[in-house]
């Protein structure tokens, strides 16, 4: 039964993440390579409630199916997004394990993940696609953009988490000392 439950959760959250990923493509951003990264809300949410392996599973399915739908499978966007997202996931999982809800709230963890995501993307773009050091000049701008999306995503996860505990009765793996308490308030 445990496996079926996990399967259903992965399938459901992957579906939600794919839809967010595809719809987000229609929202214009200052640069064609910048994405708002709203589907990372689902990744962080899964990380909080179901652990890193489930979150990674959902992330992989979302990236594969999502970029298939928007027609960017195996394009630079896909490759950058995959490695950026995977490293962001790693950093967020590490922060959760390391701090166990102390010091940083979900917003802080989301910001760190978004920032690492964008910095890793620039690094990989340099290593694989554009071998010219001038590309690093966009790092500060990408970093600041990540800060904005990270804060927005973090706030979304904060409320989603509260909702999941109160309305769906899900159990937190990690309780944030400064976040909502056991009763979700």
């Amino acid at each position: 039964m445990k496996d079926v439950r996990r399967l259903v959760i992965i399938a459901f959250l992957s579906g939600v993440a794919v839809v967010i990923y595809a719809v987000e493509t229609f929202i214009p951003t200052p640069s064609p390579w910048l994405r708002l990264g709203f589907s990372h809300i689902i990744t962080l949410f899964a990380l909080l409630f179901f652990g890193s392996s489930t979150a990674f599973m959902i992330f992989c399915i979302r990236t594969l199916v999502g970029s298939l739908i928007i027609g960017k499978l195996l394009s630079p966007t896909f490759i950058l997004g995959f490695f950026g997202g995977a490293s962001a996931l790693m950093v967020m999982a590490l922060m959760l394990d390391l701090f166990k809800g102390r010091w940083f709230s979900v917003v802080g963890i989301s910001v760190a993940g978004a920032w690492v995501n964008n910095v890793v993307q620039v690094l990989i773009a340099f290593l694989v696609f554009i071998r010219h050091s001038e590309i690093f000049l966009i790092l500060p701008a990408f970093g600041l953009f990540a800060l904005g999306t990270g804060i927005v995503n973090g706030i979304a996860v904060y409320y989603l988490e509260r909702y999941a505990v109160v309305a769906l009765g899900l159990k937190r793996r990690i309780t944030f000392l400064n976040g909502p308490n056991e009763h979700g308030v």
């Binding site: 940083f104 917003v107 910001v111 050091s133 973090g154």
Partner: protein, 121 residues
């Protein structure tokens, strides 16, 4: 919703972003050099980021090469048709310009840059 650690993280990331821009700007330039060859021999290698005129003696006479904000180009040559003077200035790594009659070649050194016309996603 924002803990103190969150605020410290966000402010330090803003500071890092703002502070790293001048440093990155400084590091990313200074990479390109101009090599001047006469009859296949390297006469001189100069930096591209300072404006200057370079005078070299070729087979026919004196050639002057100017480096300015547009790149490097021939401005004076003893050759007959002056094709070298009419050609566009060069500035990206790997680009070359030559004056064949006077046997002068200039080349930008550095990592090869892929020139991009357009980026789509």
């Amino acid at each position: 919703m924002f803990t103190r650690a969150d605020k410290i993280l966000i402010i330090s990331l803003i500071v890092i972003s703002a502070a790293s821009y001048p440093a990155l700007k400084y590091l990313s330039q200074g990479g390109s050099f101009l090599e001047v060859e006469v009859e296949g021999e390297t006469m001189t290698v100069v930096r591209m980021d300072q404006d200057q005129d370079i005078t070299v003696e070729g087979r026919l006479g004196t050639t002057i090469i100017r480096i300015d904000e547009n790149g490097a180009r021939f401005i004076k040559s003893p050759c007959v048709d002056k094709k070298c003077i009419k050609s566009a200035p060069i500035e990206d790594a790997g680009e070359i310009a030559v004056c064949v009659p006077n046997r002068v070649m200039i080349r930008i050194l550095g990592e090869n840059r892929v020139k991009t016309d357009f980026i789509s996603r």
